[in-house]
């Protein structure tokens, strides 16, 4: 199959590559450049596990062809805060509020939440639930994911955390 040249900036590094036209962005990320933090959960664009930011907006990377990412900037879960000691406020909130269990939906949830908070820095519970509708989690029942997003919203706005979000003493 013919190969098409692409140049994509992923988590701060620019990659020049050649891909088959049918290659999905998520497969290119995982298999060609080894950014395996982004995962695949379905083949019908239903689960959101593959969510990344493209030019700052969340996209399902299984619904984007690698060639469509040509010339664009992609941020994955691995590029939010390099190193385990650095945390994006949304990552920190998911840990603090136990917003993950197996962690498979987590990269997508975190990036979808970042996008949601960009568009709506102070969302209601219902707005969070509707905003994350495209991301499935089988482990958490979403209760703590919603709390995580509320917690992150407060952190990012410099507000105090209400008691119901802090989850008790450690």
């Amino acid at each position: 199959m013919s190969q098409i040249p692409i140049s994509v900036t992923v988590d701060g590094l620019t990659y020049d590559d050649e891909v088959e036209p049918r290659t999905l962005l998520v497969h290119w990320l995982r298999e060609s450049i080894g950014r395996v933090g982004t995962v695949v959960g379905c083949d019908t664009s239903s689960c959101g596990a593959c969510t990344v930011l493209m030019d700052g907006q969340s996209v399902k990377s299984c619904s984007v062809l690698a060639v469509q990412a040509n010339g664009h900037t992609v941020t994955t879960i691995q590029g939010l805060a390099e190193g385990e000691d650095n945390w994006h406020p949304v990552q920190a909130a998911f840990k603090e509020c136990h917003g993950l269990q197996c962690g498979y939906c987590t990269p997508g949830m975190v990036l979808a939440s970042i996008d949601l908070l960009q568009n709506n820095p102070d969302p209601s519970e219902q707005e969070i639930r509707e905003g994350l509708e495209g991301n499935l989690c089988r482990c958490t029942g979403y209760h703590n994911i919603v709390k995580s997003v509320q917690y992150a919203a407060n952190t990012m706005a410099g507000k105090d955390q209400p008691a119901e979000l802090t989850g008790g003493a450690r």
Binding site: D43, T44, L100, Q101, T106, E125, C139, G141, R170
Partner: protein
């Protein structure tokens, strides 16, 4: 090494605290190790040709054209695979005369469900492997599909298995459990009321988020075959792969790296695992396979799938006399690891928390042309709890009694424990009154009933319904002798080894195999409490038979209830060994030492003490050990549980049902669970939330649908409705704590509780909302369309 003593004598115990999880840093930074991430040099990718038909004879099959496609290395059907076409094992022959047909990894002559594996292609490029499937030549002669359980048992029905050794029926087995009391028919003669219902406990798909994946590599050290698999059961898988493939068990290493959920769906030895190992062996290079979600829907085992005929007999005052259960359980096309036993895991639990004089359980396993069933979160117990809690509401309605009053009248009082149930179990502890009182208060039951009356009186098109589920479950699988008595071939013990390293760090090696449950954190808490070291000084090693050789893995809410005991015992043994060394160093007798705050201290002499880390270094250097004491500081324990543990709880749901559209909105969900002593309440709460979501999903959203030809209609996540955040509310959860007496930590189990309890609470609530309109049952999932139709039928309209 270090002689500095911890500053505080009393350090804060890590037990019972909501410590944030150790696992999360890597999971939240994408530093994960999912099986599909593994890329070994020389790997070939496996693509599988699956049957598009539910039941058909293969009349022509030729894989050779695939061999000339680009990048293809090999292609196999059952013919080419020959003796390497291993059979998928079933380890639970529930009766001596159970029909146990062969289940070859690649179908031989006949396919029996949509998704059955027919042939495989191996290529050096993943897409090329899938492309080459198109070149395989195959013709089928379609046969009628066996779908409905009752029709399947009729004489003359098409046979799913019709080989030479077929007994000529689709019946897999019949199982009868008589209760410990009087015969049911005798109890029934005293009854004023007998309520009979047929409940359909529909098939479900586990739908864990990480699709299955396996990498089998023959390139390990010393001839080792290393298998990475997204599995819940690396240890059991090792034994079974050895038995199935004939590879020596001591040359198989199984690793379950990060595993993205399981819920019973990864408690399995799958065809694809067998194929990957056999072909890797044949080709002498790594074989990798990752399922697509579409494959997952048809080829990962399903759960539930029961027709439940339930009869309950009571006096007019509402005293239960007896219960009779007749089940038809859908096995699907083949028996997998515990397919036949799964419905029987529920047989002890139909009587739930209630006293009665008679119980009679019968189950017929039935083969159909559908994906095999097996364990899915709760495995047998959600089905039994559903039937019991649903029929309690129907009985209450019949008796015109408040459903909670009926339950109170019949449940085992807290002073009755330990209590020998009619199904033959002994419940060690419980306090149903306490959990119920707390839940009723949080829920504000009386005001909701008052609101319900107002809405009924005003003819509000949106009616309010209240649903109750007071449940218990057996977990902590399981005493090995009990398993043996039930003909399950393996045991139920668990193992732990704890090693104190010379630098004072601790390795805790467990046989449990977490995939979201936070064992790395919780196990550290248990051990840190006993060892007096920091939680972060402990590294939990798991899910790799090369590093954690003994274990029975994770399922059935067993990991803490059983594995926790092994951790406690190993830690205590380690301290005992350290005490002998410390006494020698401090020149005193072991009895003069107390172990407090991570150091051995001579009683009455605050100056004389030795921290555990220093003992560990002494054990390592071995320069000055007492006679007869071996170097190194480690201890192990393998614990067989003495009995099950019985978590329980009271779950209350309030729903609003729009009688004009059939749409149900879950307004409030309150539950109080008693899971015994909690190691980490944050993790406990998370387990409850996730369990609730899955149980509520069965009631409202999820259900496998086949057409009459056996095509799976719910074959993608677009059609099978795993709920999103927008489909669920926040939950109000709490706990009571009645320690279990069957294990020294007093823990029970929590992984399945929410799923087991919540389904009947929701359906009871929907039926409660609509009962004045004549509705007595709603089939799950209670979609708006189904609720609306049920309502029309009840009103006598033609829907």
């Amino acid at each position: 090494m270090t002689d500095t003593l911890p500053d505080k004598l009393e350090t804060l115990s890590p037990m019972g605290r909501p410590l944030r999880r150790k696992e999360d840093a890597r999971l939240l930074h994408g530093q994960t190790n999912w099986t599909d991430n593994i890329q070994l040099p020389g790997t070939v990718y496996m693509a599988i040709l699956r049957s598009p038909m539910a039941h058909a004879r293969i009349t022509h099959l030729d894989v050779t054209p695939a061999l000339s496609e680009p990048h293809v290395v090999a292609a196999y059907s059952a013919k080419e695979l020959g003796d390497l076409n291993g059979a998928v094992p079933c380890v639970w022959p529930v009766t001596d005369d159970m029909q146990a047909p062969a289940f070859p990894a690649l179908a031989v002559d006949k396919v029996r469900h949509v998704g059955d594996c027919v042939a495989v292609v191996l290529a050096t490029d993943r897409n090329a492997a899938y492309d080459a499937l198109d070149a395989i030549e195959i013709d089928y002669d379609q046969l009628p599909a066996v779908i409905d359980l009752e029709s399947a048992l009729q004489p003359g029905a098409t046979l799913v298995h019709d080989g030479a050794d077929s007994p000529g029926t689709n019946e897999c087995y019949t199982y009868h459990l008589p209760g410990t009391g009087i015969p049911y028919d005798e109890a029934k003669t005293k009854a004023d009321v007998v309520v009979k219902r047929r409940f359909i406990n529909q098939r479900l798909i586990p739908a864990f988020m990480e699709p299955r994946a396996v990498v089998a590599s023959p390139m390990g050290v010393s001839n080792e075959m290393t298998v990475w698999s997204s599995t819940q059961i690396p240890h059991i898988l090792r034994v079974l792969l050895a038995l199935v493939t004939g590879l020596p068990e001591n040359s198989l290493r199984i690793i379950a790296p990060d595993v993205g959920g399981g819920f019973g769906g990864k408690l399995q030895i799958y065809r694809e695992e067998i194929l990957a190992v056999q072909i890797a062996r044949q080709l002498g290079r790594p074989v990798k396979w990752t399922e697509t979600r579409s494959e997952n829907m048809v080829a990962t085992h399903h759960g539930r799938g029961q027709v439940q005929d339930i009869e309950i007999a009571a006096t007019k005052n509402g005293k239960l006399l007896g219960m009779k259960v007749n089940l038809l359980a859908d096995m699907g096309a083949y028996l997998q690891i515990i397919t036949p036993g799964t419905p029987l895991l529920g047989m002890f639990m139909y009587p739930g928390i209630y006293k009665m004089d008679a119980y009679d359980f019968n189950c017929i396993g039935v083969f159909t042309n559908k994906t095999p069933t097996d364990a899915y979160r709760g495995a047998g117990r959600p089905e039994s709890t559903y039937a019991m809690e649903r029929i309690m509401d129907e009985l209450a309605a019949e008796l015109n009694m408040d459903p909670m009053e009926l339950r109170k009248k019949n449940w085992i009082n807290h002073e009755d424990f330990p209590y020998a149930t009619i199904a033959g179990l002994v419940y060690d502890t419980g306090n149903y009154e306490a959990a119920t009182d707390k839940a009723m208060e949080m829920f504000d039951y009386d005001s909701l009933r008052a609101e319900q009356q107002r809405r009924r009186a005003s003819g509000d098109p949106v009616q309010l319904g209240i649903g109750i589920s007071t449940f218990t479950e057996m977990c902590g699988l399981a005493p090995s002798r009990t398993l043996g008595a039930l003909k399950y071939v393996a045991g139920g013990w668990e193992h732990c080894t704890i090693r104190m390293l010379p630098t004072g760090k601790v390795e805790l090696i467990t046989g449990t195999s977490p995939h979201g449950q936070g064992h790395e954190t919780a196990w550290s808490q248990i051990a840190a409490d006993i060892l007096g070291v920091g939680v972060d000084d402990i590294e939990v090693i798991h899910s790799d038979t090369g590093r954690a050789p003994y274990g029975m893995d994770t399922y059935g809410s067993r990991s803490l209830a059983v594995g926790g005991q092994a951790i406690k015992k190993a830690a205590e043994r380690l301290i005992e060994k350290a005490r002998v060394i410390a006494a020698h160093q401090l020149e005193c007798s072991v009895d003069d030492l107390e172990y407090v705050g991570g150091a051995f201290r001579v009683k009455g002499d605050a100056e004389k003490a030795q921290p555990l880390a220093a003992v560990a270094f002494e054990a390592f250097s071995a320069h000055n050990l007492p006679d007869g004491v071996e170097p190194t500081l480690q201890a192990e324990s393998t614990v067989d549980p003495q009995d099950f543990s019985y978590p329980h709880g009271t779950h209350l749901a309030a729903v609003e049902v729009d009688t004009e559209t059939g749409k149900t909105t879950l307004r409030t969900y309150v539950c109080v669970d008693d899971v015994g002593v909690q190691v980490n309440p944050m993790i406990v709460e998370g387990q409850v939330h996730g369990g609730l979501a899955q149980g509520i999903a069965q009631a409202m959203y999820e259900g496998v649908e086949y057409d009459e030809d056996g095509n799976l209609l719910t074959a993608s996540l677009a059609d099978y409705l795993v709920p999103s955040a927008a489909d669920l509310p926040s939950f109000t959860t709490s706990t009571t704590e009645t320690p279990s007496t069957t294990n020294p930590l007093g823990t029970k189990g929590v992984g399945e509780a929410g799923t087991i309890a919540s389904t009947p609470a929701i359906i009871n609530a929907i039926v409660d909302a609509l009962r004045p309109m004549g509705v007595t049952d709603v089939q799950m999932p209670a979609s708006p369309q189904r609720v609306w139709r049920t309502l029309q039928e009840a009103k006598g309209g033609n829907a």
